[in-house]
């Protein structure tokens, strides 16, 4: 879709630029006519230029919408097959927005919550020592 969008944007830009240049040429030509002449007074931009400009605008708008990608995920289990969901935006309700983070065990606020320098290292060492002693006893 991204490639299609880029192609359409380039195509619509060409249409708009060409219609702009044609319109410019038409108005330059019009200026060379005497201002009281019939063709000057009843002048209107030729239909083909109008249609080209409108087609350019519509194509550009469609191209912008084509640039949106559907949400995709790799599953945690099973074959590594890309799962494509049928929507483009993320849901904002917290219980839906955190679905993926919860599934993969990700903490989006890890920068704040992950504070290893606040750990009481002596207590942890004691804990580990006790655990090792208990496990050693079990093994014996």
């Amino acid at each position: 879709m991204a490639l299609l969008s880029t192609i359409l944007i380039l195509f619509s830009s060409a249409l708009i630029l060409h219609s702009g240049f044609s319109s410019h040429e038409f108005h330059q030509l019009l200026k060379s006519l005497p201002q009281d002449s019939h063709s000057y007074l009843g002048h209107q931009l030729p239909k083909d230029i109008q249609y080209e400009a409108i087609a350019g605008i519509i194509t550009f708008t469609i191209a912008v919408f084509f640039s949106f990608k559907k949400l995709t995920y790799y599953p945690l289990q099973g074959p590594q097959k890309l799962i494509t969901l049928n929507h483009y935006l993320h849901e904002i309700r917290m219980n839906k927005a955190t679905n993926v983070d919860n599934l993969i065990g990700n903490d989006p606020y890890g920068e704040i919550n992950h504070t290893p320098n606040f750990i009481d290292i002596h207590a942890k060492r004691e804990e580990t020592k006790r655990w090792l002693e208990q496990n050693d006893k079990k093994e014996i």
Partner: protein, 104 residues
């Protein structure tokens, strides 16, 4: 007391608004350039903006929001139709007058 449904993810609220703004900004500029090329004046130019703005917003709701904008925006009418109206109008008028002067 607020219910659980009222708690929203600020990251996704901002992200969705950004997506909408990008669509509205780019289309408003191109509609403005188009209005200048077509040499539209006064009411016709503003009418083109209103028609373009509304059709892009409706297309966004249908195509991108899948007719459920409440899932992606806190207050859909305000976020999609009202909030960026003046911003897009100024962008449109700028592009319109610029291309009008360049072409004419």
């Amino acid at each position: 007391m607020s219910s659980i449904d009222e708690i929203t993810s600020s990251d996704y609220v901002l992200g969705n608004k950004k997506s909408l703004l990008w669509v509205q900004d780019s289309t408003a500029l191109v509609f403005g350039i188009g209005a200048g090329i077509l040499q539209l004046e006064s009411f016709k130019g503003f009418a083109m903006f209103v028609v373009g703005y509304l059709s892009v917003a409706l297309l966004y709701i249908i195509w991108i929001c899948r007719l459920q904008p409440a899932k992606y925006y806190q207050s859909p009418i305000n976020d999609i139709f009202i909030e960026s109206f003046v911003r897009e109008l100024t962008g449109y008028v700028m592009a319109w007058t610029f291309s009008y002067a360049l072409v004419g």
